[in-house]
Symmetry: C2
Subunit: 313 residues, 2 copies
């Protein structure tokens, strides 16, 4: 086995938001009817792709017919046996994961836009504390904490669980998506974590599975995007040129999975100089709302413009 028995794959979490629901593009991994959805991915073609970015954009265009705008590298995964093909003596597979944002859902054959929260239902708290956390996860965490050997271990587990899921007095932090996923995985609550030999128990936790470790990658992407919202105006990559403040708010809420105070949101966004009115207004429903556009100049005025979240949760 030489040092180049490595295959490099680029995987993309491609995000669009429609009807206040963040969605990611998935493909059926094989022709089986029961096949799990997977992220679009393509091998790095070193003969043709001068840069990783270009490679990514190329196969996304080829495979899904989508021209992505904003692209950002997430993480490189390379642990052994992430991919079942490695077990059969195949090459080590290295996945470079990307986050991509597109303004509109562009349909294409074989691909489907699934709600992001279908795979991570505990992340959506827009209608109150997500029931899954209180109903299924919190009790499981309690058992896990109690099951620790020493008292020091118990405290460590309690801290980790508390921080990740906002138990007790700890506030819920939307950004800790990956902490939560990894904890759930470790507890065996994630379907993908259960080995085939453990039988076919039905899923304990709601939330659709994905192939390989694609759900972890989807969680990384959500974590990164939520984090970035607070200091970079990336949301505008998902919006049309002009929009109402409510549209903007609903979008931020959808991505963070929490509700926000309307008047304060307006204040932050207007006074913070993130947007400017256009004079035109949108008619739909009640009183017409002013149409706003993103104010690029804000980048020169404030070091880290974005959408902070309430500190207490």
């Amino acid at each position: 086995m030489g040092p180049s028995d490595i295959e490099v794959v680029l995987e993309a979490v491609i995000v669009a938001v429609t009807d206040n629901e963040p969605r990611i593009l998935t493909l059926r991994s094989s022709s089986h009817d029961d096949a799990l959805p997977g992220l679009p991915s393509g091998a790095l073609d070193i003969a043709h792709d001068r840069t990783l970015d270009r490679g990514l954009r190329r196969w996304i265009r080829d495979q899904a017919g989508i021209d992505v705008g904003y692209v950002e590298q997430l993480y490189t995964f390379g642990d052994r046996f992430r991919h079942p093909a490695e077990r059969d003596g195949g090459p080590r597979i290295l996945s470079i994961a990307y986050l991509a944002l597109v303004r509109e859902e562009q349909t294409s054959a074989g691909a489907a836009w699934w709600p992001w929260y279908r795979f991570l239902p505990w992340e959506d708290h827009r209608d109150g504390k997500a029931g899954v956390v209180a109903g299924v996860i919190a009790p499981a965490l309690k058992t896990w904490i109690a099951g620790a050997e020493s008292e020091a271990d118990q405290n460590q587990r309690a801290e980790r669980a508390g921080v990740a899921f906002g138990l007790d007095e700890t506030p819920w932090d939307p950004v800790r998506v990956l902490d939560r996923y990894e904890l759930l995985y470790q507890l065996g609550l994630i379907d993908e974590a259960r080995r085939a030999d453990e039988g076919e128990s039905s899923p304990i936790l709601p939330g659709g599975s994905m192939v390989f470790d694609h759900r972890r990658i989807a969680a990384s992407a959500l974590s990164r995007l939520r984090g970035k919202l607070s200091y970079r105006p990336v949301v505008f990559e998902l919006l049309p040129e002009t929009f109402t403040l409510l549209t903007l708010q609903k979008l931020v809420e959808a991505l963070n999975g929490v509700r926000l105070h309307k008047q304060n949101f307006r204040r932050v966004v207007e006074r913070g100089g993130l947007v400017e009115g256009t004079g035109r207004r949108s008619h739909s429903g009640g009183r017409p709302a002013e149409l706003y556009r993103f104010r690029r100049e804000v980048l020169r005025e404030r070091p880290r413009p974005g959408f902070g979240l309430p500190a207490r949760g």
Copy 2:
């Protein structure tokens, strides 16, 4: 050329802070006397390294005799011709870069701890606006802006330069290390950017070169570390168990490259619950200072504990 003509290399920016000076570990790249320093790096050994992390830790121990504590993946670089070996028909080289923090400088043969700012002198503003920016960089940026074709182009360049280097009214943002490096590179002010055939002009800008794109990697690492300071208590990875508030402040200042208001720093750190007094005190110089320790509980109390920077700069 098959799809596995790829070599995967792990590269590490290993950081320690001594005498209020952040330093990174470098190696002489070859036996030549004029050889540039480079980051420690090692090939991924797929036969032995089960995970990327383990691989990294293994060769850092082997090569430099250092056991690193905190480790974090930074970015994967894979553009063609990053590495000169690729020009001679060698394999494509993929570098996975890491940031590692160690509490003390651990010496080892062949390795040297250089001040981080030796390679990025414009990043250190602790003694006022770094002279390099006003003296060399700002004029070069002005010329570059004026040299744009259209007025729209000029505005774009002015915005980019202003945001990166805090010109005009824009505040200096310590986090934008990478923006600055890339802009300087594009302007040809970074030595590594000048091709051999352009002659051997002496360096325009102070700041030591490194091999390949290692200086860019060092810049990425500084960017990431500065960013992380504001929401994760990573500084404590660089401090001993107990420390005075001044030590802590000097450390944060050293990493961010800016000075901070002493009394306010105390307030934030104490009232924010990041540290707690030990009762013991340190005797050195003037009035003895209380020794503090990191308060882990803060993780449960506040969602993103860290060291924010003044908003205006």
